[in-house]
């Protein structure tokens, strides 16, 4: 995924941005399981919205349709990118889906 929304770093202000490949796996640092979604996720609830610290650096936000209740996920859980069926960034638990090598 290429993101061109930013022309400078929101943390330090430097405009010298580099493109870098992101790791495909990571660790959940914060999450919520939503039972009341917005209109674009009407048929997907409940699901988790997650903030993931990627292996090799960088954080991304994404969502996990496989998570149906708070007990299905924990901070510290290992997750990885999976091809999504919607425009968002989709993750699955390592325990639930094939892990990219």
């Amino acid at each position: 995924m290429t993101a061109t929304w930013a022309l400078a770093c929101p943390r330090c202000g430097r405009a010298a941005l580099l493109e870098a490949p992101l790791g495909e796996r990571g660790t959940v640092v914060a999450f919520t399981v939503l039972s009341v979604p917005g209109d674009e996720f009407l048929n997907d609830a409940p699901y988790a919205y997650v903030v993931v610290e990627l292996d090799g650096g960088g954080r991304v936000t994404g969502w996990m349709p496989s998570i149906k209740s708070e007990g299905d996920l924990a901070i510290g859980a290992r997750v990885h990118f999976v091809p999504g069926y919607k425009p968002g960034v989709q993750f699955a638990r390592d325990a639930d889906a094939p892990v990219p090598r």
Binding site: A3, W5, P10, R11, V29, A30, F31, T32, V33, L34, S35, V36, P37, G38, D39, E40, F41, L42, D44, Y47, Y49, V51, R59, V60, T61, G62, W63, S69, E70, I75, P87, G88, V89
Partner: protein, 384 residues
């Protein structure tokens, strides 16, 4: 810089308005001006906030309000800063009055959402988030604060009763506020049994979708001369910004904009935290009240829950927080919220907060956040 005063502040009852946003805005503006002892023709500029006016098929609402007040020749503009819109308007009014560019200014915030269903309202609220990064990944407004709550709980484990105690306190305060959307107390049992909206936030952790309108009149001390009410001296009017997106924040504990705005405000006011008698803070969700108290330096990080449970923040506590009932129970008509915090402080200073008086009313602070912390206003007021 000149001394600027809040000389009038009025609100309608939050909840469900029959009239249009524009009508409600005109009504509260008229009332705030009447209270101030000034005439509409004394107003030099109207700063209006109405984030979701387009859902009523109405933009450019300032000239309509001014027309309804009999002052169509007065300039106006619309100020948008999500949930902190009308405190951003107040900041503009302050800057212009204190800077000598205006003698008096009107700040109006209004929102009407009750003509929308929950799904549409949820979706409109989410539009203050970062659309490609947050909304496209399923975030909602409660979902984003719930994400912050999960990170907070990880760092500082707490029982559900802690957030519950915030909800119970603010409902108890709102039950004594005729402007409030919810005018009934709730029990811990009701709180704990309310459905999960976005874990760990339950229904009673969340502010309601409210209609409402509030208006504030700011004027230069030298222009007012003989105030007819007890004015609020604006000791500080500070705004700050911080990274909006969850994934770009250095950490997820608190909202950096709250800290920055509060630090600036206390520097401007030459006051210490302990000199503040009571607070109106941005508690769109119960977790947000804990974050506000910690971010602004009233309690150390990780201890706001204990302060809440111990009654420090109760109406008769050492540091009353949200005697109005807060966004949580007074309601959160997005663009009206910032102005309505000032209404509460005005009523407390003027002995109009019958049945919900706080013990000391010499100095108060209002804290108003835009969305999840992309923007924040902090105002400090004191008596003459």
């Amino acid at each position: 810089m000149r001394e600027a005063w809040v000389v009038g502040a009025a609100s309608n009852r939050f909840g469900k308005m029959k009239e249009t946003g524009r009508e409600a805005a005109t009504r509260v503006a008229f009332e705030a001006i009447r209270q101030s002892g000034l005439e509409p023709k004394d107003i030099g500029y109207t700063f209006v906030s109405n984030c979701f006016g387009l859902t009523e098929k109405q933009g450019h609402v300032g000239p309509l309000i001014n027309g309804g007040l009999g002052i169509p020749e007065v300039p106006s503009c619309t100020i948008e800063s999500a949930c902190s819109s009308s405190s951003a308007g107040l900041h503009e009014a302050f800057v212009h009055v204190a800077g000598g560019f205006l003698d008096a200014a009107l700040v109006v915030g209004v929102e009407k959402l009750s003509h929308l269903d929950t799904l549409s309202a949820t979706s409109y609220f989410a539009e203050a988030a970062d659309y490609p990064f947050e909304t496209k990944n399923g975030a909602t407004f409660p979902g984003l604060y719930a994400t912050l709550a999960s990170a907070y709980q990880q760092a500082f484990p707490m029982k559900p009763e802690v957030l519950g105690s915030v909800a119970i306190k603010n409902h108890a305060n709102a039950a004594r506020n005729p402007h409030a959307h919810f005018q009934k107390e709730i029990s811990m049992d009701t709180y704990l049994r309310s459905p999960m909206i976005a874990s760990p936030l339950r229904l009673y952790d969340c502010c309601p979708f409210s209609d409402g309108a509030a208006a504030v009149v700011v004027a230069a001390k030298e222009f007012v001369k003989h105030p007819v009410t007890e004015p609020l001296v604006v000791r500080a009017s500070a705004r700050a910004g911080s990274i909006t997106e969850m994934q770009d924040r250095p950490d997820l504990l608190g909202l950096p904009a709250s800290r920055a705005a509060a630090d600036t405000a206390f520097r401007q006011a030459h006051l210490e935290r302990r000199q503040i008698d009571f607070l109106e803070v941005h508690d769109c969700f119960t977790i947000a009240e804990l974050l506000a108290l910690e971010d602004m330096g009233f309690v150390p990080r990780g201890t706001a829950g204990t302060a809440e449970v111990d009654g420090v923040t109760a109406r008769d506590g050492k540091l009353p927080v949200n005697p109005s009932g807060g966004l949580k129970a007074k309601g959160h008509p997005v663009s009206a919220t910032g102005a309505s915090q000032v209404v509460e402080i005005f009523e407390q200073f003027n002995g109009l907060a019958k049945g919900r008086e706080v013990p000391r009313t010499d100095t108060a602070l209002a804290h108003n956040v835009g969305a999840t912390g992309g923007s924040c206003s902090v105002h400090i007021f004191s008596r003459r």
